[in-house]
């Protein structure tokens, strides 16, 4: 081998070796770039594809009455769930078939029927598509026997699991159901932190009543779980990141005992009754009849029961106390009287009542067929004389009447802390094209005696009674931690005193509402009302009674009896305010003060 050849051979091998080394170093440099410099980026990509965040449901806060009695609380309920990862097959159809097979087996073992129809595979498929990493609930809130059978045969039930959930329970059943309201399972919208939540456990969500109004408060803070899923989306492992924090208790102003009495007082009628603390606006009892049992909604309301409820003509789901609008009838007359006094009518103003009142084309009858004769204002209130107040109404005019009514909170929202709050309607002397209502002068006389187009809610009437009694109008509330909000009425006290005198006489012997104060150990004043509604061929009477009572020397010394209360009660399709509503009010007042 010549020297040159040797040199070239060495050189070319050297070059080859260097090229190999260069490429290997290139690999090392690139590996450093991937494994050291961008490790965070690749970890993030890994997490994004394999980590799913689950928002776990927190137990809901309890609801208590003002004395700490439980109205709504939680119980531990067990649900049987199916874990999809236990059934994974190559093809999805096989997976679903395996699941259905297992479900049939489960149903036979725990002896709970399960419907195997065309919908089941579709539901399972939907579950796999949307939340494959999450368990599929087969039976929620299973009984102890089922639980025992499940444990006994747990070795045959691979792929199934028991999950403890918090379920709502109402120790008092239907008590105060409209105020408490019912819950349903839904997805909470609250997002924890900045991280993206992939799945949300179904939480209890308030659908009506205070459960809905204070939903955010009661709900607590959701927990967080991290699921690690494999390439096919099945859960490989899970880890709890943050435990859920139960919602705080909510105390209501409701007194459960009084509530019980109030609800039984409504017995037999559709209607509503509201009892408020006259000086603060705390709602001591709110009843609406007919009612429903809140426990029927747990764990979920069967569809049949729900449709029965919504199709029921009596509308049990409606809260009549805050959301039912009625013509007030004669209980509106104190407002007319106050408007007249403000207009300058003397309390001694007398009118001759001959049992009939005509105004333009309007012919109005008095409750007393042959008339009350000569009446002054106090006695007109006492006997609830229609012609007297119709005349006052005509004298006063729409604007002042409306202004006085609005001063007492009529025709506007009561601002109660419940989801249903309606304003009712106070006519303003204008025709309303929308509802096809044409104003004519006779309407004024009708409004003055609480008929016509006037609409109020029982809650508004209770508040109005409080206003008449104290001269201050409270804002009603049901959440104990709210502060009272009381507005002084822009009405001179001596005007109110005249009306109060009339209302005191109502519950005395000879008054229309004498039945309301029999043996009640308190100073009571009230007003009856019998509103006529409906067309002539189907005329119905709604019986009203409002009362204001304050304790006197004889009263019980309990904390409840030391309060002055205002109440309003309305009974649909009843006889008369004095005959139907006043005795029931008497029961309630006796319960408070005796």
């Amino acid at each position: 081998m010549s020297g040159t050849e040797r040199f070239f051979k060495d050189l070319s091998l050297l070059v080859t070796g260097l090229v190999f080394t260069f490429f290997l170093i290139l690999l090392a440099v690139r590996l450093k770039e991937v494994q050291i410099d961008s490790v965070a980026e690749y970890n993030l990509l890994k997490e994004r594809q394999s980590v799913r965040l689950v928002q776990t449901a927190a137990p809901r806060g309890r609801i208590l009455d003002r004395n700490g009695k439980e109205l709504a609380t939680n119980k531990k309920a067990f649900a049987i769930v199916l874990n999809p990862e236990g059934f994974q097959r190559k093809r999805q159809n096989d997976t679903i078939e395996a699941m259905i097979q297992a479900l049939t087996n489960l149903s036979a073992i725990v002896r709970v029927p399960i419907e195997i129809d065309e919908e089941l595979p579709q539901m399972l498929r939907r579950h796999l598509r949307r939340s494959q990493a999450m368990p599929y609930t087969v039976f929620s809130d299973v009984s102890d026997e089922v639980l025992a059978r499940f444990f006994e045969h747990s070795d045959e039930l691979a792929g199934f699991d028991l999950v403890e959930r918090s379920e709502r329970v109402y120790p008092c059943g239907s008590l105060a159901s409209h105020i408490i309201g019912y819950v349903g399972r839904g997805e909470a919208e609250s997002v924890v932190g900045d991280e993206k939540i992939n799945f949300r456990e179904k939480e209890l969500v308030g659908r009506s009543g205070i459960e809905a109004y204070c939903d955010g408060y009661l709900r607590g803070v959701s927990g967080e779980k991290r699921l690690t899923v494999d390439a096919r989306g099945y859960t490989v492992r899970e880890r709890e990141v943050r435990e859920a924090i139960a919602g705080p208790d909510l105390k209501l102003t409701i007194d459960a005992n009084l509530q019980q009495t109030v609800e039984s007082a409504l017995n037999g009628y559709a209607g509503a009754c509201v009892v408020v603390d006259a000086s603060t606006g705390e709602m001591l009892a709110v009843a609406s009849a007919p009612s429903y049992n809140l426990n029927d909604f747990v764990p979920y309301l069967p569809h049949g029961v729900y449709s029965k409820m919504t199709n029921n003509a009596a509308r049990p789901l409606v809260n009549r106390a805050t959301g039912g609008t009625y013509a007030p009838g004669s209980i509106f007359k104190p407002i007319t009287a106050l408007a007249a006094l403000a207009h300058g009518v003397k309390p001694s103003h007398q009118t001759m009542c001959d049992g009939i009142f005509t105004y333009g084309t309007l012919i109005m009858h008095c409750a007393s067929r042959w008339g009350h004769g000569e009446l002054d204002m106090v006695n007109a209130i006492k006997v609830s004389c229609n012609p007297y107040f119709a005349e006052l109404g005509v004298v006063v005019g729409t604007n002042l009447l409306r202004k006085t009514a609005m001063e007492f909170g009529l025709g506007r929202l009561s601002e109660v802390d419940l989801p249903v709050d309606v304003s009712g309607y106070v006519p303003d002397g204008q025709s309303n094209e929308k509802i096809g209502f044409k104003w004519y002068p006779g309407e004024l006389a009708q409004t003055a005696i609480g008929q016509g187009k006037l609409l109020v809610t029982p809650l508004q009437m209770a508040v109005m009674a409080a206003g008449l009694g104290t001269g201050r109008l409270p804002r009603p509330y049901v959440n104990f931690s709210n502060k009272p909000n009381v507005r002084k009425l822009n009405i001179p006290n001596y005007h109110l005193e005249i009306v109060r005198e009339g209302m005191r006489r109502v519950v005395k012997r000879g008054g229309t509402g004498a039945a309301a104060a029999i043996d009640v150990k308190a100073d009571v004043m009230g007003k009856t009302g019998t509103a006529e509604v409906g067309p002539r061929y189907n005329r119905r009477k709604n019986a009203w009674f409002i009362a204001y009572a304050k304790p006197n020397a004889e009263s019980n010394k309990s904390s409840l009896a030391r309060r002055s209360v205002a109440l309003a009660i309305v009974l649909e399709k009843a006889d008369s305010g004095g005959g139907s509503a006043a005795p029931r009010a008497c029961k309630i007042l006796s319960k408070i003060y005796n």
Partner: protein
């Protein structure tokens, strides 16, 4: 008489023992040790890739691979202690013909697996055939007794050699197995370079290859970049000499962040598993991407096994692996350098280039340095034909180490 025979036999034994001792001294122990270390790493990697699989067959894959390696170690020493010159002189031409026949048979009777007709019964002929072709070409270029004679440094010799290489390459491309063909071509080119075959031809070949590769890359880029209309794309791709799946791979190489749920999925998962390994990795057997089936199961044991290794052992592990490969490659170059006889030198450098090409392309494709090509990683991937082939190849290199400098006195 019996005594004489006994003496003769004893003499023979003594001679044999002396010979073996001499050969053992000449064995390149650095390369041998690195190879054993690589086999160990491979066993661990295959265990890791397989133990999380649902199919029980894969749980014991590492064992069968290890047994194959131990069996192949015997062949390795047999080859190492056999004079490669004899093998080349008597065996290379028949081996070449056998290889061609095998390649033709596999095209006719082969079994289709993973989109290629590469399997004949239990082995892949294209792996073995590479070795046969390399030895034949090194014999033709290097041997004094070469039938090509002095012609091999001239144009005609170049033409004949190219033709002899082109036939098996075309057959391998027919399977299709682009990766294997490319590694073979790389080895042949380096052998042409070292063996001083007609330089103009070599330069032309390299230049043509480079221009062709650039054109293909450019064309695919133009066709696939966002904003190219469908008609234009079709028109361009008509002139690109690649199969549709190869076009996709080039596209993924150019635009790795697109199409991550379809054609770009493998590369993305490979990068995520390597990248998430970090400095020290997640621990042997604890690779998440492989364990949770994000890395495609069909290739995580073979072409993408580096990802499993890198994820579980981290940067440290990948550098250890690279170093082991580097030791094998550079000691191979050293053996070629030390070989006094051109035939052995060419054989050694050809085999080492083949080895290097496998290592480089396999690792580079999983970190996005080259387009994805289905190539196993020597000693790490599971695949018994390839393991045996590689051990035979390194055995031949050891043979060069032992017999290539017989004049040297140790």
């Amino acid at each position: 008489m019996v005594e004489v025979l006994r003496l003769e036999r004893a003499k023979f034994y003594r001679k044999f023992i002396i010979e073996v001792k001499d050969k053992l001294k000449r064995l390149n122990y650095i390369m041998f040790g690195a190879m054993l270390a690589l086999i160990a790493c491979g066993t661990i990697a295959i265990y890791s890739a397989g133990h999380s699989r649902a199919d029980i067959i894969f749980h014991s894959m590492w064992k069968s691979n290890l047994y194959t390696a131990i069996f192949a170690l015997g062949l390795y020493f047999m080859l190492a202690f056999t004079d490669y010159k004899k093998i080349l002189k008597w065996g290379s031409a028949p081996l070449y013909v056998t290889a061609l026949l095998l390649l033709i048979i596999v095209l006719i009777f082969g079994t289709v697996r993973l989109g290629g007709k590469r399997w004949l019964w239990f082995f892949q002929p294209s792996e073995i055939s590479k070795l046969c072709i390399l030895s034949f070409i090194s014999y033709l270029i290097g041997s004094v007794a070469s039938p090509l004679g002095e012609m091999r440094h001239k144009f005609r010799g170049f033409l004949i050699l190219s033709l002899l290489v082109a036939i098996p390459v075309v057959l391998i491309l027919e399977e299709p197995d682009l990766g294997t063909a490319l590694t073979l071509l790389a080895a042949i080119l380096v052998m042409f370079f070292i063996g001083r075959v007609w330089r103009a031809g070599l330069v032309t070949l390299i230049a043509t290859g480079a221009i062709l590769a650039t054109c293909v890359l450019g064309a695919v880029y133009e066709a696939e970049r966002p904003g190219t209309t469908a008609e234009r794309k079709a028109a361009i791709l008509k002139y690109v000499p690649l199969e549709p799946h190869q076009v996709k791979r080039v596209k993924v190489f150019l635009f790795p962040d697109e199409d991550i749920h379809d054609s770009g999925y493998n590369l993305r998962q490979a990068k995520i598993s390597i990248g998430s390994g970090g400095l020290t990795g997640k621990g042997i057997g604890k690779g998440e991407l492989n364990g949770m089936k994000y890395l495609p199961q069909s290739i995580s044991m073979n072409d993408f096994i580096f990802c499993v290794w890198a994820e579980e052992t981290g940067f440290v592990g990948s550098i250890i692996l690279l170093t082991l490969f580097g030791i094998v490659i550079l000691s191979g170059v050293w053996i070629a350098y030390r070989a006094e006889e051109p035939c052995g030198r060419l054989l050694a450098i050809g085999i080492i280039t083949l080895f290097f090409a496998h290592v480089y392309i396999n690792i580079a494709m999983s970190i996005g340095l080259v387009p994805i090509t289905g190539l196993p990683l020597p000693f790490i991937s599971s695949g018994r034909t390839f393991l045996v082939t590689m051990m035979l190849a390194l055995g031949l290199v050891q043979s060069v180490s032992i017999h290539g400098r017989s004049g040297e006195i140790l």
